[in-house]
Symmetry: C2
């Protein structure tokens, strides 16, 4: 990957005190934009990516040469219409697409940080990205949005900066990472760390690569992104290329080939240590605890208008957890809309062409602008 020439980066000079206690400064923040910022600078939307996303929201990602993660939603005349809105997305800190992360050089050792990189949080990610408002001289965003970990960032953004966005659309997320979700993330981390090529995080320096462990982590996560019903309808027990079972450990079933493929392509575009750091940030996310057990306190000073979206078949961030956010917003007197979209596509629904979902986002954004 020839990363640098395709990546826009600001160097954030202002020191940022991380939740772990360390302070960072002069760190890179990679971003991309879509559409044009208008003269009044009131049409900007900050989109936050999920665990394995990056700043390349729409069109062809110039590094991976694949479609951007939200190509269904963001573009001219799409749900987030780039003829009207100016969409900004940054790679989260801890990531591997140009923002400050474990692949950066540690000035103390002149080697990549690896797991000497500080453990970061969703709060740290959001505080780092806030610098983009200053960079673009935007006083107030029109909206913040994102699904999954992107939704967590949207919630944290409003909690941290209650007067800095007119609207917010957290999608398929939670205010507090559940035990089951921590468990699946821990499974992924253990899979990476079990790979002999991980070498305690120093694999780059040692010309090694924990691709097998990272692929298994991706396979595990991928299963959780889809619904049982969706998997059954798409794959069921369909066999791969043959008419009968192989009686071997080759991929007999299409679902097996699919998962192996998903694992194998993932390692080409993602860094194993970033996977550790970002899952850790998700697991640490607990906006309820940040506000001493009262989630409504997180939003009490906000004039932001919220729209919360969940999906019927999302078992990772189920409707019940999204509704807890709605209840807290109601309790704090914040204006909030909520829709549960019917979809068999599981948690991944927010990334896919789910017309009812995309229409709901479009209507909300255009009605409130």
């Amino acid at each position: 990957m020839n990363v640098k020439e395709n990546i826009k980066t600001i160097i954030v000079k202002k020191p940022l005190k991380l939740d772990c206690g360390e302070t960072i400064s002069d760190y890179p923040l990679a971003y991309e934009t879509y559409g044009k910022l208008n003269d009044k600078k009131d049409n900007a939307i900050l989109a936050f990516h999920a665990l394995t996303g990056d700043q390349f929201v729409s069109g062809i990602n110039p590094v991976t040469k694949k479609s951007g993660w939200w190509s269904h939603a963001v573009g001219p005349s799409k749900a987030i219409d780039t003829n009207k809105f100016f969409v900004i997305c940054a790679n989260v800190i801890g990531g591997c697409m140009g923002s400050f992360g474990p692949k950066n050089i540690n000035p103390k050792t002149n080697k990549e940080f690896g797991i000497d990189f500080p453990v970061i949080t969703i709060n740290d990610m959001v505080n780092a990205q806030y610098n983009l408002l200053e960079f673009f001289k935007i006083d107030k965003l029109y909206s913040v949005t994102g699904g999954s970990m992107g939704g967590m960032q949207a919630l944290q953004f409003v909690a941290n900066f209650p007067d800095k966005t007119k609207t917010a659309i957290p999608i398929a997320c939670t205010a507090s990472h559940s035990a089951q979700n921590i468990a699946f993330n821990e499974l992924g981390r253990q899979s990476i760390m079990a790979d002999a090529n991980w070498k305690n995080g120093n694999y780059s320096y040692l010309n090694s690569s924990p691709n097998k462990g990272l692929a298994v982590a991706r396979m595990a996560a991928h299963i959780t992104y889809l619904s049982k019903k969706g998997l059954q309808e798409k794959f069921g027990r369909k066999l791969q290329e043959k008419d009968d079972l192989n009686f071997s450990f080759d991929a007999d079933f299409q679902i097996e080939s699919y998962l192996r493929y998903q694992g194998s392509i993932f390692v080409d575009r993602f860094d194993a240590n970033s996977y550790l750091y970002i899952t850790r940030a998700m697991d640490y996310f607990d906006l309820v605890k940040q506000y001493k057990g009262n989630l409504s306190k997180a939003f009490e000073n906000s004039k932001t208008k919220f729209f919360i979206i969940s999906f019927t078949s999302d078992w990772l961030y189920p409707t019940a957890e999204n509704k807890e956010i709605v209840i807290a917003l109601n309790a704090s007197g914040v204006e909030v809309g909520f829709i549960e979209i019917t979809s068999d596509k599981g948690h991944d629904s927010f990334l896919l062409d789910v017309p009812e979902f995309l229409k709901a986002v479009k209507n909300f954004l255009e009605a409130n602008y």
Copy 2:
């Protein structure tokens, strides 16, 4: 583990043609019994174990020194009352507790079979275990039962031997392994095979052991055995020993320590290749396909009285899949009872002290005897 002195074994001389086409004979089948076979030989119950179970159903397992997997259910005055019934359980072929499996010596090479062991099926397992009836000179069992893969074996037993058991209690199982369940099993297999110490299945011969991969496989499976709600209630976001987050990759949360522990103890008692073979057998299980798409044909010659049990929070083998068995039994005119037990304990409910479940089993067994 000093396996041999604690394990009762028969050597099955009769050739068994496996579904893969190979024929085996003179192979060991390890078993255990509980209670006494009565003079009429009409009180025998064949219990089938699940993926990681073995023949040591109740009391202290003499090899692992832990409680047997069904100690809550099987024993004097318990649900399966060993004062009344004679319980037989065999280690499945493909397993690692004394029955013919990948740890046996391949006479062609004088080394352990490893992955040269033939790929076996649930049908093969059941056909092998049928030899125990002859060994004990039992013409007809009183019941066959088991949960999860044990339930699949119970279904297959009645399909293969329609007049050889008076009753059957398949618990928390399915007639056809779903895409999601294949996906989770494939994840486990890939995790084992990703471990550099697996060495293409020849780890024993090469004095190696894919413990890390096997532990990750176990962690993945373990998450699927518990319900989201159960995990949340038991662990939630409780921290391990400390008052605050570590900001490291140590186990911060109790759920992480729990999973790591489950992985670490599993490798002491289970063989990685057996894990591959048994999950493969589960994935291959499709009683619907065996009967050309009509599951009711599997039971049409049977006089066996069925009792099907599912659990509300079991998302691995949900009630809907258990009900499909009930519907097929109804369609074939077989007598069948069904109960869905309310439990937050997920798929694991069948192994745990769930009083309503245990009472249902006891009542059915004693009412029909």
